[in-house]
């Protein structure tokens, strides 16, 4: 019952702290099922991306979250499961008992859009790291879903890895042109193409 209020407080606080703005460069905020894939340098990344989505899209957009991080502590668990409705996945080895691709596909089949950080972990704020292959398997098994690059700007300086308190700096999130897996496109080429589109968006 309190969750919508908590969600509103978090988005309003993010807005006040970072004045974050959406730049819809390659597509509009349409009600299309999508996987937003973004660069990852800071804990505030997901909240920034989530805050700039229009409220109606936010309701159906779920972050893919590493369960080893988000299941530590009651507050994190509450935020991820009750407020953000995150899709928990285990990092590291894929096991039969818990296959992250299956979990994400299930969320897509329920109609959700996803927020995904294909670098797998927060980078040091310079280069975009090579993508993990999960996004390829998703594109292969759910070809109707649009893959939208989202470049999050300046979040590393707001809250770099290892600091507790953010500083208020202006941030923006740019959304690029939606991509899909081409027929016969190889995994490495596809991942490279996606990563390249994200880097290009960051330079725009």
């Amino acid at each position: 019952m309190l969750e919508p209020l908590v969600a509103t407080l978090i988005t309003a606080g993010t807005q006040l702290l970072t004045g974050v703005q959406a730049r819809w460069l390659g597509c509009g905020p349409a009600e299309v099922q999508r996987i937003y894939f973004a660069n990852h340098t800071s804990h505030v990344d997901f909240v920034l991306l989530w805050s700039v989505l229009p409220a109606r899209l936010r309701k159906t957009t779920r972050p893919v979250a590493a369960s080893d991080y988000w299941d530590r502590g009651a507050l994190r668990r509450y935020l991820m499961h009750r407020v953000f409705h995150g899709v928990p996945v285990a990092r590291g080895r894929i096991e039969h008992s818990h296959n992250p691709i299956a979990t994400m596909c299930q969320a897509l089949d329920e109609g959700a859009s996803l927020i995904l950080f294909p670098e797998g972990t927060r980078g040091p704020g310079g280069e975009v790291q090579p993508f993990k292959s999960g996004v390829f398997h998703l594109a292969e098994s759910r070809p109707h879903v649009e893959l939208v690059p989202a470049w999050i700007d300046n979040s590393y300086r707001v809250m770099p890895k290892g600091v507790l308190i953010p500083i208020p700096l202006l941030c923006s999130v740019a959304f690029g042109k939606p991509a899909r897996l081409e027929p016969g496109e190889r995994k490495a080429d596809f991942l490279d193409r996606l990563r390249h589109s994200l880097v290009e968006l960051g330079a725009a």
């Binding site: 004045g19 703005q21 300046n154 300086r157 770099p160 308190i165 500083i167 208020p168 700096l169 202006l170």
Partner: protein, 350 residues
Amino acid sequence: MTLSRGLTNLSQGPAFGPRGQIRQSPGFAGFALFQPLQLPSSEGLVIFASVTAALLVATLIGLLLRRRAGPQPNPVLDNLSARIRAWWIMVLVLGAAFLGGRHAVILLFAFVSFASLREFITLTRTHRADHAALLISFWVVLPMQYWLVWVDWYGFFAILIPVYAFLVLPIAAVVFGDPRNFLARTAETQWGLMISVYCISHVPALLTLPIPGYRGRNALLVIFLLIVVQSSDVLQYVWGKLLGRHPIAPTLSPSKTVEGFAGGVASATLLGTTLWRMTPYRPWQAAAMALTATLMAFFGGLVMSAIKRDRGVKDWGHLIEGHGGMLDRLDSVAFSAPIFFHLTRYFFAS
């Protein structure tokens, strides 16, 4: 104990008098939240009505220009109407703050400083090793500066940033052991605080100046400064658009012209002179203060343009539609407010 006593003594300058004494006198700092400013209601009403009338005229001119230009898209007119819309909002917010009283004005300018510092630091090259220094700037120095206006502690207000912050911040950065661009990073943090917090906090600090024969009317002094400086910006824009031919600083700010500068400064000084009744100044003094403020404002605008140009941006941000960021609107106020404050304090305060 000794430190706090020493600092208290510093505050007992001639303008402020002993703090206790000021606290007791009505009309100055008290602890009641949102104590009314005692803005003389007739004067306040006249000013509000005049500013509203000026905005109405501007809105009408905007509509007429739009009608004459026809239906095709026109970016200059779009920007003009966005600017006028933003002016309505700014005047309403300022008016509400003045109605809310002294503390509401202080809180409003604290927020203005926050938004300005955020824009400034966003454009700097500070990085990971500056995080602690920036945390202190945003979450300690900025609130403290406005708290000092709130409690009317002038001596500490005047030195918190140029003495304490300027020495502590580079220490907070150097402990992270990264010497790359150290002087540049330190200077950027300090200048951000100087412009966005120290300078802008002198606007609400005008409310604390005890001026003989002017008690309870200090809010008018704030309004005088804002009207003179902002109208100088607007009039420079208008004169420049009407007559502007010769760029005055082509490498810094290509849209500024000699004609805009001369016309804007002259007409804003004239406007300031006609407003002398709302100030503690005689007419010639009001003219001198208005001229000083508009000159500082103009050259301050050039300084801020040079910073923007070097960083490769046109505007500081996007907070105020049509104007850019908070600093795009406030750069002129930042440069004129401290000089205006100190001239008034030196020549007119008791």
